[in-house]
Structure formats: structure tokens, C-alpha cells
């Protein structure tokens, strides 16, 4: 009984700790001055207007963030599919090696990968182009859709493929009518995992953008020396909202516990 109370208190405390900085930042966004205070002084919503409409720096940064996040997540999914499919269908040493290689950038310190990509793009002459940034993030986050798609492929009952074959489906038709639709939720989840993480990433982006453009998080990173401003807090609120909406959607339409590695639910 006492243990139960302790458990609940511990979980509640964890939740408070986890939420604390987020709450503080959200509050600070209401400040009317240029400084971050908590609780906010003379609360106002002006900073939201600045961030979304009136300040070109932030509006541009937001546009870049959106372009990079969507395009790189899409590219990551396109790259991840053959990797995950190779792992599942063949499971050979070569396909394992290739998938391992694909997840290396995500597993190692991003600052090293960022430095390396900076060199790579400067040699190929595209350093500072937005598309180099998109490709960089796709490479960094390809590991995420590989994982989710692999989980999806593993959940396919091989008997379904046999059934499709006895019903006249060729390999291609079975892929289109059985494998793709059954793994769709996992593909979409992988896409959004990559999207959200790309949205928030800035270190790799810092090295590959070469100061010729900025995403929102990179813009904040660049102005770090001048201190934080309440407008940045608005960005923080926006980003946390996007994350919560995306993950709540995945939880609503997909099986989040299963994606995170729990056993399949018993129905």
C-alpha cells in the first residue's frame, strides 16, 4: 500500500520534472520586454505575432525548418524502405551491414557527423544550399524509419504472402496489395519520427548551412551568445506543440507501445 503511494508520487514527480522547463519556457513567451522572466512581466501575445508574421528572420527560419523537415523525412523514408526490406527479405550479412551503416550517423555524436558533412558538401560545391541540408538530415535520421518499417515488416504474417501467392499474386502484386498496406502505419510513423527530430536538430544543420540560411533551432543556436529572448520561447512552444500533436496522432492511429518495442497487443 505504502509502496503504491510511493510509486504514484515518484511518477508524478517525474512528470513535473519533465514538464518544468517546458512550462517555464511557455510562460516566458508571454513577456513583453526583451528579457526572459518567469513568471512573465506584463503578459502579452505580441511575441507570437512577431514569430509567425512580422519578423522576417523568424518567418524565413520557420519556412526553412518546414521545408527541411518534410523533405528530409520523405527522403529518409525512401532510403529506409529498401534498407528495411533487404533486412527482412534477405537478412544477409550484406543487408545487415548496409542497414548498420545507415544507422551510424544517428548512433554517433552528431557534431562529428556534422563536421564531416560540412567537408563533404564543400568538396562537392553545394555547401550552404538548402538541398544539401535536406539530404544531410535524411542521412542523419534514416535510422528511424528503418527501425519502424522493420518492426512493421516483422509483424507481417508470412502466411499472408503465401495466401496471396495461392490467390494468383506475383511478388510485385503481393508487395503492393499485402506488404505496403500492412506496413503503411509504420512507414508513416517513421516519417513523422524523422520529421520531428529534423525539425529540432541544429548541430548538423549548423555545419552544413555554412551560415547561408537558418532553420528555427539553428537561428536560436546562432543567437545563443546574445541570450534568449521571449520570441525564442514562442518557437519553443510551437515546436513542443508540433511534437505532441504528431506523437499523439501516431498513438491514436498506430500502436505506439508496439513501435517503442512492447510486445504486440493481445486483441
Amino acid at each position: 500500500m505504502i509502496l503504491r503511494v510511493i510509486s504514484h508520487v515518484f511518477m508524478a514527480l517525474s512528470a513535473v520534472m519533465l514538464a518544468l522547463p517546458i512550462v517555464v519556457v511557455s510562460g516566458a513567451a508571454l513577456n513583453s520586454g526583451r528579457s526572459m522572466f518567469f513568471p512573465p512581466r506584463e503578459p502579452t501575445l505580441d511575441r507570437f505575432y512577431e514569430f509567425f508574421v512580422s519578423e522576417p528572420v523568424w518567418v524565413n527560419a520557420m519556412t526553412n525548418s518546414i521545408i527541411v523537415a518534410f523533405c528530409s523525412a520523405a527522403l529518409a523514408v525512401l532510403l529506409a524502405w529498401p534498407l528495411a526490406y533487404g533486412l527482412w527479405a534477405r537478412g544477409s550479412r550484406a543487408s545487415k551491414f548496409l542497414a548498420g551503416l545507415g544507422s551510424m550517423p544517428f548512433a554517433l555524436p552528431p557534431i562529428v557527423f556534422g563536421v564531416g558533412l560540412g567537408f563533404l558538401w564543400s568538396f562537392t560545391g553545394v555547401l550552404g544550399s538548402l538541398w544539401a541540408g535536406v539530404v544531410s538530415h535524411a542521412a542523419l535520421f534514416v535510422a528511424l524509419p528503418v527501425v519502424t518499417i522493420s518492426i512493421g515488416l516483422q509483424s507481417i504474417d508470412r502466411a499472408h504472402l503465401d495466401a496471396a501467392a495461392t490467390l494468383g499474386a506475383t511478388r510485385t502484386v503481393a508487395f503492393r496489395t499485402v506488404i505496403l498496406p500492412q506496413t503503411l502505419p509504420y512507414t508513416v510513423s517513421g516519417f513523422f519520427f524523422a520529421l520531428v527530430l529534423s525539425f529540432n536538430e541544429f548541430i548538423v544543420m549548423f555545419f552544413v548551412s555554412a551560415s547561408s540560411y537558418a532553420t528555427v533551432t539553428l537561428q536560436i543556436f546562432n543567437s545563443l551568445r546574445n541570450g534568449y529572448t521571449p520570441t525564442m520561447a514562442v518557437a519553443a512552444i510551437t515546436f513542443i506543440t508540433v511534437s505532441i500533436v504528431v506523437f499523439a496522432a501516431i498513438a491514436r492511429w498506430g500502436d505506439l507501445p508496439r513501435l517503442m518495442g512492447a510486445e504486440p497487443a493481445k486483441n
Binding site: 495461392t166 494468383g168 496489395t177
Partner: protein, 355 residues
């Protein structure tokens, strides 16, 4: 409908021989059951027929035409899988017409066929449900309808009843058999349940350890088993080891009279099988061997009673059907039974090495 013929077909998995070279004919319009314990190669054989498994050698003929080289999707034999393998992302009707849709049949035509098939399996009105909303029995009907939609030349079922509960299983066996007879389709069913095989099949193929042990109609398999494995696997049997002696069989101190003993040379080691319903109680004049025995246990399962006996030649279980003259059995009671000479099955036995 065409007959299906397997000639010299075998399958190796690595160094393991999963199916020994077999020749089998599945007559047109008949239902054949592949029966055997798990791991006997019956499913592998079925998968080779479907084209899901490539045989290591031999050939498969359909109506005299060699189809060994055809992939599963070219044979298009309808197949019902153990857990039905229904597509969870499609509705009931979409599952049923899957084969038609991917082969380019028009939507309206597919829709019509789908409804007709759902009628056939008594699921009209369920077309728009999701697979997850169906019960086990309904799922099986959908799986059957789906396999039949493409009007296959051969209909294959892999343990179709194993996912159903016992009561439903009995009903579905009869229903499936009636459907198959109505359509007159050449059908192969894999099962490990001898009761199921005997309910449905025109012909049973008994398999063990990758080998075909016996092929024949159900009554023949039951009443004239060709070897000890079949006698043991199909129905129940009491076994005794003995040696042929003077036209009978010597088991311990008793010489059993058996008609089948005439087929063996004097002195050859044999195994005797006796079905539980064969021995007679209280009929001293029956032709056969009389044995003294003692009741050790009585199992009353309603319609019949299993009497466990300790006899001169070993333990045996004898079935006593409740007749007009009911008899009382008590543990410890001594009685004599008669093993009829024409009711014993005799099989050759490999001589065990004597140390």
C-alpha cells in the same frame, strides 16, 4: 475437374529429408486427407502441391500436364491456411474477391461473385465487416470463400479446423464436406486429427516421418491397417509382441489364435494389435483365445466404458458399449475375455538385439 498426380516427389531441407519420394494420385472431385502426427511432412507435401515449396525432385501433374515448374501464383490453387491468413487491412468482401481484383476482373463482376460466395458460405450481409470483428468460425468461412473465388482446379486446406473450438469443429467438418461434394472439386486436406479425416475424406493418406504409410478409404485404413504405426495412429489399439508358433502367436505363456498369423513364417517376430472394441466379455463360446484378467480401472465416459485390464499377456484397455444388458464392473473383479481370431492385426516386428 482434373486429377492431381505426384510422381516420385521428395523434399530435402538441408540434409534432412522432409518428404520421402512418394507417388500419390488425388482423384478428380475427391477429398483426400493427408493424415499424420506433427512433423510428418504432410504440410510440406501440401505446400509443394500449392507451389509454395519447391520439390527437391519428382514432378506434379494436373490432368496429365506437368505443373512442377509453375509458381504458386500461376497454379492458383485455392488454399485455406491454418490461421486462415486473412488480410486484416481488407474487409470481408475485399478478402473474398482479392484473387479476382488482382487479376483485373471488373469491379461490378467481382462484387457479384463476392456476394454469391458469401451466400455460399452463409455469410451474406457480412461483406463490409472487418476481419477483426469475425468469430473463428466466420473467419474460416471467409477463408474458404476466398480460396474458392478464383474457381481453382485444386482446393487445398492446411489444418483448417485447428483454430476452432471442439464443438464448432465437428459442425464445420460436415459443412465443409457437403460443400466440397456439391462443388465436386478435387480437394486435399492436411490434418492430424483422425476423426476429422474419417469424417470428411474419400481417401486417407497416412504419413509418418516423411513417408507415406498407407493410402485407402477411411474404413479400410481403420479395419485393415497395413502396419503397426497406422494401427496405433488411427483409432486405439492394444499392442503385444510375440513370435509365430504353429499357426498362432506365442505371447508369454499364451498361444493366441489369429487368422492373420498364417501369412508369417514359423518363428518370425511379430507385433499384434487388438482394437479396444474387439475383445468379447461373457461369451465363452466365441472363436478365439480366452484370457484371464483382472479389472484395474474403469473409465465411464457415458456411451461407452473403458475397462482397464491386467491380463495374462499384459495390460490392455477394452471398450464396453452400454447395451440392453448393462453390466457392472468393479476394480479388482476377475473375469475372462475372448480375443477373436479374426479380430487381431499382425505386423512384422524388427527383432530387437538381445544383449
Amino acid at each position: 475437374m482434373q486429377a492431381l498426380e505426384l510422381s516420385g516427389i521428395y523434399k530435402n531441407f538441408g540434409s534432412v529429408r522432409a518428404v520421402e519420394s512418394s507417388n500419390l494420385t488425388f482423384a478428380a472431385g475427391e477429398l483426400t486427407a493427408l493424415l499424420g502426427p506433427s512433423g510428418c511432412g504432410k504440410t510440406t507435401l501440401l505446400r509443394m502441391i500449392a507451389g509454395l515449396e519447391e520439390p527437391s525432385g519428382g514432378s506434379i501433374l494436373l490432368g496429365g500436364r506437368d505443373i512442377t515448374g509453375l509458381a504458386a501464383h500461376q497454379r492458383k490453387f485455392g488454399m485455406v491456411f491454418q490461421n486462415f491468413a486473412l488480410f486484416p487491412h481488407l474487409s470481408v468482401r475485399e478478402n473474398v474477391v482479392y484473387a479476382l481484383v488482382i487479376s483485373g476482373v471488373s469491379k461490378t463482376e467481382a462484387m457479384e461473385t463476392g456476394n454469391r460466395l458469401l451466400d455460399l458460405v452463409q455469410l451474406s450481409g457480412y461483406g463490409d465487416r472487418r476481419i477483426g470483428e469475425l468469430s473463428g468460425g466466420q473467419r474460416q468461412r471467409v477463408a474458404i470463400a476466398r480460396a474458392l473465388a478464383q474457381e481453382p482446379e485444386v482446393f487445398l486446406l492446411d489444418e483448417p479446423m485447428s483454430a476452432l473450438d471442439a464443438k464448432l469443429r465437428e459442425d464445420m467438418q460436415v459443412e465443409l464436406r457437403l460443400l466440397q461434394q456439391r462443388l465436386g472439386i478435387t480437394t486435399v486436406v492436411v490434418t492430424h486429427d483422425q476423426r476429422e479425416a474419417m469424417t470428411m475424406a474419400d481417401k486417407i493418406v497416412v504419413m509418418s516421418q516423411g513417408r507415406v504409410e498407407q493410402v485407402g478409404p477411411p474404413h479400410q485404413i481403420y479395419h485393415r491397417p497395413e502396419n503397426a504405426f497406422v494401427a496405433d495412429f488411427i483409432g486405439k489399439a492394444n499392442f503385444f509382441d510375440g513370435v509365430i508358433e504353429k499357426g498362432g502367436i506365442r505371447v508369454g505363456s499364451v498361444l493366441l489364435q489369429a487368422q492373420a498369423a498364417a501369412n508369417f513364417l514359423n518363428g518370425s517376430p511379430v507385433r499384434v494389435a487388438c482394437r479396444p472394441e474387439t475383445p468379447c466379455f461373457f461369451q465363452r463360446d466365441a472363436a478365439g483365445t480366452s484370457l484371464k484378467s483382472k479389472v484395474t480401472f474403469v473409465r465411464d465416459v457415458g456411451a461407452v466404458r473403458d475397462i482397464h485390464l491386467e491380463t495374462e499377456i499384459g495390460r490392455m484397455i477394452v471398450e464396453y458399449a452400454r447395451g440392453e444388458t448393462d453390466h457392472d464392473f468393479r476394480i479388482g473383479q476377475e473375469l475372462s475375455i475372448v480375443l477373436p481370431a479374426d479380430g487381431l492385426h499382425v505386423f512384422p516386428r524388427a527383432e530387437q538385439a538381445v544383449a
